[in-house]
Symmetry: none
Subunit: 226 residues, 2 copies
Amino acid sequence: MKGKIFIIEDEASIVQLVQHNLEKEGFVVSSSLNGNEGLKELKKFEPNLLLLDWMLPDLSGIDVCKNIRRDSNFKTLPIIMLTAKGEEEDKIKGLESGVDDYITKPFSFNELHARIKAVLRRSDPNIVANNLTFEDLKLDRIEKRVFRADKEIQLGPTEFRLLEFFLTNPKRVYSRDQILETVWPNNVNVESRTIDVHIRRLRQSINIKDKKELIRTVRSSGYSLV
Amino acid sequence: MKGKIFIIEDEASIVQLVQHNLEKEGFVVSSSLNGNEGLKELKKFEPNLLLLDWMLPDLSGIDVCKNIRRDSNFKTLPIIMLTAKGEEEDKIKGLESGVDDYITKPFSFNELHARIKAVLRRSDPNIVANNLTFEDLKLDRIEKRVFRADKEIQLGPTEFRLLEFFLTNPKRVYSRDQILETVWPNNVNVESRTIDVHIRRLRQSINIKDKKELIRTVRSSGYSLV
DNA sequence: TTAATTTGTAATATTTCTGTAACATTAAGA
DNA sequence: TCTTAATGTTACAGAAATATTACAAATTAA
């Protein structure tokens, strides 16, 4: 789990390419082909970053952008604008209207990936960090290892992703639906109670006797790291 | 695999000479004849070092250089500038703009090779090192020999490259895709399960009884040296 | 050319992980 | 205190990932 990215872009081929590659990188990705629909879905999806095409069939990128900035929930949502060649002068307008970065089409995926990482590093460092820590918990994404109080802990793949997810936003309470959406591969249907079992497994692995419980149950809301 | 080198240089004869010799040395090389195109391809290629001509048809070397340094992914990419005789005064400017070294045309390949090694040795020692070691494992790239606890080990070519790859980044977990991409010659299509078999062969060769396993399996992620 | 080595794959075995169902426990309001 | 809904716990079967083996084709050495 490296965060959620939403794409609003009308060229299906671009969407497909970018979405596929981002998913390979571990992002959860959703997309829309036009502005109005995109705005709605985006607010449901709650991404960590938006890739926004400058020229859309219905709204202009700027309109979308302004709409988003009006919504208090998305005031700080990082936005990267996708512009076509020759629209360069518009970039200035774009940056003024609250865009964090832009990239000119055609672009290579690596260029885009670099910018995404740069923007996320500023807005939400944990999403791209190689090491996540919280109190005496440490998770190394490169070496795929987890430590509690400097003692290594063995986790199965799902428990690893689950902990990774909690570590990107410690203390925050996540509902089962939210957990499902980001920790499980897309379009998989699992019983929501299944999460309880994985929480239990994770708890069992990361708990040390005489040390406090790290995962808090918030009845009727979900779980959080604490 | 001794790393990837990108060349931006408009004189085709120089490119050909350098590229050919570098490939003979085991580098993976790609090149471009002008600045704008070069910048794009470079970012796709993700080299370990860039050879950059000072005078290009479209952009100056300095422009290219600045552009690269702006991109967070390439902030530390080592650059060696190729300058023509008489441009010496420019060298100072070049070094200021973030170039790591320069060489004056005409140069012999040996001169260039020496500088490349010197620059890489600073930035990414494992790429040029003749000997890679990790714990009691030793791999000699020159003599193509491998030792475990001072006892020589016989490896097939693929197992040798595989171990070489792991040794350039011990502890790091690599996915099967990543392994395939760098250990196997480009555009070869092999089943991803094939890697398991080679891992097994490598394990069988480098393991000594009573010594710990050196290759770690990370379920659903890949393998690492450990 | 023949012999020896190396490679990739398919088939099979083994290990580890996952999701679910069933039952137990807990918390909170009536 | 009783009731009920939510969460905790456990065990297990099927699934998924990896390990192992054998073999034929390809490559290299002799």
